[in-house]
Every structure is written in C-alpha cells, then in structure tokens.
C-alpha cells in the first residue's frame, strides 16, 4: 500500500513539474529548449524504487509527458522512459547516483540517450516528422538544460519521501 502511495506521490511531483515547465518557458520566452523534469523523476525512481513499481511509474510518466507534448505520437515518451528506466535501474545496481552532482550527470546522459531514441522512434513511427537535423542540433543543449532538473527533482522527491511518506533521509527503502 505504501509503495502505491509512493508511486502516486512521485507521479504528482512529475505532473507538477511538467505543468510548471511549459508556462515557465513561455514566460521566460525560451521557445526551443525545455528541460525534461519527468525524465529526472524516472532516473531518480530507477535508483530508488523496485523494478515493477519503477517501470509502472516510468510508463505513466511517459504517458503524461506525451500528453504535455502535443504533436508527438502517444507512446513515444512512454517507450523512451521505460528504456531509460531499464538502463538507469541497471546502472544504479553498480553506483548509487542519488547525490545531486551524480544524478545531474546521469540525467544529462539520459537526456542525450532519450534524444537519440526519439530520433529513431520518430523516424520509424511518425510519418509527418522530417526535422531530424533540428533534433540532432538540440540534443546537447537539451541535455545541459535537463541535467539540473536531476538535482531539483531528486531534492523534491527526497522531501516527498521524508515528509509525505515518512521514509528515511535518503529515501533508500526499496
């Protein structure tokens, strides 16, 4: 039961961050690049949650992200987040990357991977998409913008674990 509440809490945090980003970028007049906070939540969840709850979270967050990104085919971010979750889950077994600096780096790398995956999936499934060069040019700046979201999201999720769910300081319980 507590696990389900935790997934729900992480989803709420992810939903809030996704809701904030788009209007914030609009207000700041940053049109081209937007950080991907949901990806940061998935990366943190991969280091914190069990496999099944984690993959469900990644899947639902991907679905929400697809909802927040009109124009992309539904399923694109679900697929990407699930694959990123697999990779980070495996990596977290070798290195606990939940410190602010390491998670920033891991989110940055995950963003690069997600752009690569996006390129592949759009090439295969999206019949209307043809601006691949733009996606390639955006990959590195997008990674740099998304990377700090790792530290922000992990901070928020740790707070959620501690104050909402009453978990330990590091949110280590799997």
């Amino acid at each position: 039961m507590k696990g389900a509440v935790r997934i729900f809490a992480y989803l709420v945090v992810g939903y809030m961050l996704l809701s904030i980003i788009s209007p914030l970028m609009h207000v700041l007049q940053v049109r081209l690049y937007a950080p991907d906070p949901a990806l940061a939540v998935v990366v943190f969840a991969a280091a914190t949650l069990e496999f099944l709850p984690g993959i469900v979270l990644a899947w639902v967050l991907g679905l929400l992200r697809d909802g927040f990104s009109p124009g992309s085919p539904i399923g694109l971010n679900m697929e990407i987040y699930v694959i990123v979750f697999f990779l980070c889950y495996g990596f977290a077994k070798k290195l606990d990357y939940r410190t602010p600096i390491t998670i920033t780096i891991v989110v940055g790398v995950s963003s690069l991977i997600s752009t690569g995956l996006m390129l592949v999936f759009l090439a295969i499934f999206d019949q209307d998409f043809d601006d691949f060069s733009l996606l390639l040019r955006m990959a590195i700046p997008q990674a740099f913008i998304s990377a700090p979201m790792g530290a922000i999201a992990s901070g928020l999720l740790k707070l959620t674990d501690r104050h909402v769910l009453g978990y330990g300081k590091d949110g280590v319980f799997r």
Binding site: G62, G75, M78, V82
Partner: protein, 288 residues
C-alpha cells in the same frame, strides 16, 4: 527455484510495457487520422495543470510588470515635477519680462508724448513699507552724480509719483504723493475746479478745493497745473474716488485714487528741466 518464474513474469511484464508504447506509436504516428480517446483523455488530464500554472505565472509576471511600471511612473513623476518647476520658473520669468516690456513701452510712449520734458530714467532700489503695507518712501538709483537736485518731480507713464526729497551721490529719496508733507497744485480736468492734492500718509491722498458749484464725478482726472513750480503742467496725479465731497474747515475734500500704484513701482522718470524754486511755505507752515 521459485525465483525463476518470478523473473519470467517480470520479463514478460517488461516486454508488455515496452511493446504497448510501440503499438501506440504505430497508431498515433500515422498522418491523417482522427483524435483518439487516449489523446482527448490526456488533454483533459494535462490541461488543468498547465492552465493553473499559466495563470500563476501570468499573475506573477503581470504583478512584476505592474510593479516595474509603477517604479518607472514614480521616477517619471519626479522627473516631470522637476521639469514642471523649471517650466514654472521660466513662465514666471517670461511674465516678468512681459510686464517689464509693457512698462518700458509705456515709458517710451510717455517720453515721446512729452517731448517738452527732459527726463532721466531711474530704477527703484529701496522701498519703505508702513505697518499697513502702504509704501511710504522709495529710493532711486540716481543722485547728485546724475545732475539731480531736490524738489525735481518724479513721474511714470501713469502719472505723478512725487518729488526728490533728499540726495546722495548715486541715490535719491522720493517724497511720495501720499506723504503728509506733499502738496501738489491740480485742477479737475475739463471742469475748471482748482485745488491741491494733499498726502494723508495712509496710502490715499485727498483733493482739497474751495467751495464750487461745479458738479464733480467719480473718476474725474486731476492734473497738475504747474502753479506750484515743482510739477510741470498736465501730469495726471489721480482720479476722484467718489463724487460727494465732505467739508473740512472751510474747504471741501474728496479722497483720491493715485494714478500710480506705489507698491509695484519699478522704473520712473525724473523731470530735470523744470524751473526750480524753493518750496513755498504757506501760512499754516505747509510746503508748497
């Protein structure tokens, strides 16, 4: 032994989680298709959050912009106030110049009209004011060094101011028409009534004249006769304040409105070509 089926189960679930998005992408990636239930459902889920945040940020930005606008308005207000002060000062200076221009023009006209008089222009440099705020005495910036002598009459384009009472090197004290020691021979213009204008010391001199049948009116002009040997003939001294004289001793008396406004005196002329005589002393000790 029990871990293996569990692993297969997880692997199967993982496969499902991987394959389902691919299927979704396949359907949603096609061009020229209708909106699906999933898309409209997602829109319903995501729209409220975005609208809420958009409203929040818009309020924040609007509030900030209004604050910045107000700060700018305040700065602008201060700048405009400064500008207003400068402009008000300039307007004041322009009015002063206009007034001065009018006075000087009138003085010029007077000088041209009275070509028979030799005039020396002078400026007021000092003024004594009584406790009732009436001007008692003025000091001019001309004196002995300019060839002036006591008793020389002083006029403006409006009329008689008084005469020189005392002199120094470069300044002169003026005995005003309103001074109690002042006496000027006048007649009522067009009415053949002669008399004298006597200062009372309270700002308004009086016109004293012997009993006459002639009917006087308010506003009648009093002009100098030249009989006193101080003031040349034809200078306006003032205007009758009302038409009904009152009897004082064996004479009649009417309050006079002086032709010159002493409180605003600036420039004036000293008439230097009048045949000067020592003031006459009347039986009651008054100078004439």
């Amino acid at each position: 032994m029990n871990q293996k089926p569990e692993r297969y189960k997880l692997a199967l679930l993982a496969m499902v989680f991987l394959v389902l998005p691919l299927v979704s992408m396949y359907f949603h990636g096609r061009s020229q298709r209708d909106q699906t239930v999933i898309e409209s459902g997602l829109l319903r889920v995501t729209a409220p959050g975005q609208q809420l945040m958009h409203g929040f940020f818009s309020t924040l930005v609007n509030g900030w912009e209004k604050y910045v606008y107000l700060v700018r308005v305040e700065e602008q207000n201060l700048e405009l106030r400064d500008q207003l002060q400068v402009l008000a000062r300039q307007v004041g200076q322009t009015r002063d110049l206009e007034e001065e221009n009018k006075r000087l023009r009138a003085a010029l006209d007077f000088k041209q009209e009275r070509g028979d008089l030799k005039l020396v222009a002078a400026q007021v440099v000092g003024r004594d004011i009584s406790p009732q705020y009436s001007v008692m005495r003025v000091k001019l910036d001309r004196g002995q060094d300019d060839g002036l002598r006591p008793q020389m009459p002083i006029v403006t384009s409006q009329g008689v101011v008084g005469r020189i009472e005392a002199l120094a090197g470069d300044s002169a004290d003026v005995l005003l028409v309103t001074d109690t020691r002042s006496r000027i021979d006048v007649n009522v213009s067009g009415k053949n009534v002669n008399g004298i204008v006597v200062g009372t010391g309270d700002g308004l001199p009086v016109f004293r004249f012997p009993y006459q049948k002639a009917r006087l009116s308010k506003g009648d002009v009093l002009v100098t006769t030249g009989h006193d040997k101080v003031f040349p003939r034809g200078l306006v001294v003032g205007y009758l304040g009302h038409s009904e004289p009152k009897q004082v001793d064996q004479q009649l008396e009417i309050v006079l409105e002086p032709a010159v406004q002493f409180s605003t005196l600036q420039e004036m002329f000293i008439i230097t070509n009048v045949a000067m005589q020592e003031p006459e002393v009347t039986a009651d000790g008054e100078e004439r």
